[in-house]
């Protein structure tokens, strides 16, 4: 076979840049996590002392992490590790719904919510957002749809991955309780960033993402639930009484679980500084708006993930020799990445974990690019 040598020297082109990519700002490894990458790099190396299931391994202490630390962190009774947020959503949907049933989800949901439902054969009813400019989800709108469609479960994305909107999760918890409908909270952009408690929100299930928001090498997710769902979601195999069917036995046994654990001290500390992250995001948004951009989504914004309409950049792209790739290229020249190559008119970005000085530099670069090209 030809051309294989190059794969031995894979390099990440956009390394060591200031990275504004919303799917990446919360997934940067801590120094501790970088060390365990090598320690547990070999396939199956976390399984040296496996007693038959990932969450029961005591060396390294995955058991304590999954059975004690994560439940406390999430305010959940029971927690398991999944291959990612989407896989957690699928596990819950698959375990508690049947082909042909209906679910109600928010209109800002991640695309994998739809794919999970399609995979099972569910009908999906969406709670519309308020549309431009805020795209807000009013959780009170679930009520009439629940009455009308008698859904097998409801899903709320908290926040969503487009606008970074934070709907009233607790209020929806009350509605779910009133109508006795199972309620899943997709916190892929919350768990590991925002202090959040399953109990407080009143949800039945909470989903987190290790690679999106918990400083982990992916893919890995966490699934927290109330005790009453344990027997259903974690149903054991008839033939293999230790093995949990929906997890196909074991899930993320590798660098993903090792880095999730190694990063966890820092992650548990950083959620305490969430108010500062919000303040920084709001400041950044205001500064960008001074340049003629418009932040869509909730205002004042409550999350580091933000969506902008950027007419001034779009205007430049029409005349620039590099066309719609000019912004990516101009930013990269200045050591900045994370806005998708080719986007100028609308894009999202995240300020999470980026020091204010660096964001000031980013703002200066935006100003400079506008000035040089107008």
């Amino acid at each position: 076979m030809k051309n294989l040598k190059k794969f031995e020297n894979l390099k990440r082109e956009n390394k060591n840049l200031i990275n504004l990519d919303p799917i990446q700002t919360g997934g940067k490894l801590t120094d501790a996590a970088k060390k365990v990458l090598i320690e547990f790099g070999d396939g199956y190396s976390v399984c040296d002392f496996c007693p038959g299931r990932l969450d029961l391994i005591e060396k390294p202490n995955v058991k304590e992490f999954i059975h004690n630390i994560l439940p406390e962190f999430l305010g959940a009774d029971v927690v398991r590790i999944t291959h990612g947020a989407r896989e957690g959503i699928y596990i819950v949907m698959h375990a508690i719904t049947k082909r042909g049933e209906t679910i109600v989800v928010d209109g800002n949901r991640h695309y994998t919510t739809i794919l999970s439902a399609e995979r099972i054969g569910l009908k999906t009813i969406e709670v519309s957002s308020s549309g431009e400019p805020e795209y807000k989800i009013n959780v009170r709108d679930y009520e009439s749809l629940i009455k009308q469609h008698k859904p097998a479960m409801i899903v709320l994305t908290y926040p969503d991955g487009n606008y970074g909107n934070l709907p009233e999760a607790e209020k929806l918890g009350e509605i779910a309780a009133e109508f006795k409908v199972p309620y899943l909270l997709n916190g892929a952009y919350a768990v590991g960033r925002i202090p959040i408690s399953l109990k407080k929100t009143g949800a039945d299930f909470i989903i987190g993402s290790g690679h999106k928001s918990m400083a982990s090498s992916g893919p890995i997710g966490i699934l927290g639930m109330k005790k009453k769902w344990e027997k259903i979601i974690l149903k054991k195999s008839k033939e293999y009484p230790k093995k949990e069917i929906e997890l196909l036995g074991c899930t993320a046994r590798g660098t993903s679980i090792a880095t999730l654990m190694a990063s966890f001290l820092e992650v548990s500390e950083r959620v305490k500084k969430w108010p500062q992250e919000v303040k920084k995001a709001q400041w950044f948004s205001k500064e960008l708006e001074k340049l003629g951009l418009e932040q869509l989504g909730e205002k004042p914004h409550q999350h580091d993930l933000m969506f902008f309409r950027a007419e001034p950049f779009y205007e430049i792209s029409k005349k620039h020799p590099k066309g719609k790739f000019f912004l990516y290229s101009e930013l990269k020249k200045r050591g900045i990445t994370g806005i998708k190559p080719g986007l100028t008119k609308m894009f999202k970005l995240s300020t999470f974990g980026i020091p204010k000085e660096k964001l000031e530099y980013v703002l200066n670069c935006f100003r400079e690019i506008l000035k040089e090209n107008f």
Copy 2:
């Protein structure tokens, strides 16, 4: 939260030992793979230039790897990356069978074959092995069961993970063709060790495991298929026409795919040396039998994964102060690991990729342990 500091310094206790663990001998990272661990350690870092699906990323060149290199390597028309072998099995089963249908599998199948079937609600009929001492699967036995049960698909484990037996996969391909029943070959212990071609075997699907047999940091698997299955297995979402439903959009985007690619040159070279691996395994088995152990499974053995009945060690364990943990402890003292702690009477091991000199040392240690304790 307490007790988190220790997670920052996770150490692998059994590092740098001679490792005989069958689930680990084929998953040791190559030097090239160790380098990419850091390069692509951050969550979602392979997605810097994602055009909407993992297998379409060109930087790093996942696209070429999945669409050109792996199909050639597997003799398959179409290949996708999964979270592991078990997830690949589930994907195929879920896509082509329906709750209540029947499948026929070999009696030596991995436990996750059963879990996948349970998750979907399939009835599983097993082709019995010949039992002690060889536990052979005669693929001709599928024929009557196919006639009787009209299964939605058949599964063959090649080799199985207990005895390392290699049934006649090609013969089963002929039977599957005759009865027009979809045929999945679980090659978790073959792909990356043994030269193997989907086309040659006549199977419809082939499953591989990155962390078991392709020198990758797990979990990751590969799923190869014939062209005719592409539209069914890789059915696209109605709402998101680029996204493949059964994969929930994207699967292993992280260190797992990066290490799979970086190790691939070495993996593609090592399969050429498979005859030497078999010879080494046969020699090792004979030497162990000289010590009073008995190798179960096919003889002469055709795979590095071997199962032994070890009466002499069992006898020692009855009187030894460390009881059934004595063997693990005695081996570890001598720098050897991989036989499950607590096993003495029956255990499996693998000689894959371990130089003959080291295996000679292992044999000497076995001899010494017997001598010292008898």
